[in-house]
Symmetry: C2
């Protein structure tokens, strides 16, 4: 395997050729001329009202149940301010989105990881943990989980919502990848199963453009109004022109047209990732995602994420520290492969380099 | 005085006719076509690099001394996270920007107000307070202060910076109105006098459009890198398309052309405000701002801001609770008149209504 040009298995970013540039320019031109007195002015802390209404309607909810912000991570931070007190407990899947762990800890919460299985969090372990302590929040990425690729089964979704009702905790359902399903049938959202107990985060980052920083949350109106007060205290209102552009993009039906284009772009990349892993790393275990951005790979070696990344760097393979996806250091090495932002040859070459590193470590 | 259509003396917002719509649309079209792979992608937590460079150059600083965010209030929040611990002390001018007080208190700081005079904070009172306790931060709006309109004299600016060096505290210089000078000569910025002790906040809100939510901070590079880490943990990167638009707007020289237009638009409004106050409310005391958005009015009656606002509402004059601009309830009633966003007839009618309310309260 040649170790020529660096190959990057780090951030879950879309490729530049996924950006619908012409349509974005067209929508910017239209909406900035049509509604400048609103889009160039301070907005409401809940976001641009027409986009709020569009999101509410698309999700069968009232407009008061929706808040738009500069990316969904920012909303997670607001949720921390609204709902977490010092030393509150948050349950997360292990592994989970590293920035979510950071956000909860910034709010002085204690983060507890529950092992993740192919079909979602280990419910027996979850219930055992619940008997020890009741969390304030449970953070779940039910569709095409970041970083593992797992999708939570309908049965487990129902059980999680039942437990939320019984033990009185909030579920944060983070759903940025939900619309990127390459195979199989959609499962019901946690939000639809427990609308009074679930705050659903979503985003246009993976559907249009992350640079827009356009995330939103759907939740009971009383939660939304608390988040809106925090949002106003933090930045008065979110950035308006991008909300106008995305609204116009959705209103014209461009989003519906863009999604099949993205599925066609990303599905072969997922297939290449899985095929490369099967071919090059039969020793590894990994899930078979039906959509999304990531395949998480468990390597049967007890090496730290830092050391693995250092070894990989020597063959020009850029990895993040896989340990960061776990609240506590995992027993095995974990590698997240974000396949959307790179090409099929890069995926193949990257997995080959990963296999080379693995074999050097085990020989 | 008729109490017909409501007149709003509340938020410091620009009028819709100040927005350079055609130029903004033109810049959006150009820059989104020119740099989509950067502007539609996740950005750096410090902001769009070309705009960062433009700001650095315009201020004679290194690019590492600049961070751009979604509005300067958001940056004030980051500064709170970076520099404030529980029960730290923050000195502010009394009155000051109400949202700044809220932000410092959210970070569990104790906010101490130092009386404001025509030429800036009362230095004797400031030094007396310093002998009692050394603040971590001192928050100063040196140019056309919000809400009073006061401008800090060069002498006081120098003294503040000397004291910062002597007592080892940080000065936050909030300067969003600095470019809106209708009369007189600019004073040196606190930043230029004490570059190692000052974090200067500024914004394009009052120069182009607040809906863009485009604020920035100029500070020593080690502070910027701490803020950048907090920014990344909060929202990954700020909203990129609006940064591209503003960069293109500045690069083309449109900002230089827009400022004289704004001065011509706002100066008659300031004159109308001062003339109306002299005519209708000779009992009031107020400063004579040389620029900016606000005239702050002290009424010689001991009535709460809430009660004054309730009385004003009866004659369709919408006031904010003036007490909110003070860390501790002021002895006299205080009214902020934000004159830029309303018309001259509205200013005249509004001041007349305020005079009517005042006379009813004192008769």
């Amino acid at each position: 395997v040649s170790s020529g040009r660096p190959i990057t298995f780090t951030r879950g970013v879309p490729p530049a050729d996924s950006f619908p540039v012409d349509e974005v320019v067209e929508c910017a031109d239209t909406i900035l001329r049509l509604d400048p007195a609103v889009l160039l002015q301070y907005g409401k802390s809940t976001g641009y009202q027409p986009l709020r209404e569009w999101i509410a309607q698309a999700n069968g909810r009232a407009v008061d149940d929706v808040l738009i912000s500069n990316g969904s991570l920012q909303i997670l931070d607001f949720i921390g301010t609204a709902l977490l007190s010092d030393n509150d407990v948050v349950f997360v899947e292990a592994p989970t989105y590293d920035r979510a762990i950071t956000t909860f800890r910034r709010h002085r919460a204690r983060v507890v990881g529950i092992p993740l299985q192919n079909d979602g969090v280990d419910i027996a372990a979850f219930e055992q943990a619940l008997r020890r302590e009741v969390p304030r929040l449970v953070y779940i990425i039910a569709d095409f989980q970041n970083p593992s690729g797992a999708t939570t089964s309908a049965t487990k979704r129902r059980r999680l919502v039942e437990l939320a009702q019984e033990y009185d905790f909030w579920i944060i359902e983070d759903a940025p990848y939900r619309h990127l399903r390459y195979y199989g049938e959609p499962q019901p959202t946690l939000l639809s199963l427990g609308p009074q107990r679930v705050l659903q985060l979503s985003s246009f980052s993976k559907q249009i453009s992350p640079g827009m920083r356009l995330g939103y949350v759907i939740a009971p109106a009383e939660i939304i109004s608390r988040l809106a007060r925090i949002a106003e205290d933090t930045y008065i209102s979110p950035t308006m022109p991008s909300e106008g552009i995305v609204y116009e993009y959705c209103r014209r039906g461009y989003l519906e047209r863009n999604l099949p284009r993205l599925l066609a772009l990303y599905r072969p990349k997922l297939e290449a990732t899985l095929a490369s892993l099967r071919r090059e790393l039969p020793e590894a275990s990994f899930m078979t995602p039906e959509g999304g951005y990531f395949v998480g790979v468990n390597l049967p070696i007890a090496v730290s994420g830092k050391e693995l990344a250092a070894r990989a760097a020597k063959v020009s393979l850029v990895l993040t520290d896989g340990d960061g996806f776990f609240p506590e250091k995992p027993a095995q090495a974990f590698v997240r492969i974000p396949f959307c932002g790179i090409t099929v040859p890069e995926i193949e070459e990257g997995v080959a380099r990963l296999a080379q590193v693995y074999r050097e470590l085990t020989k």
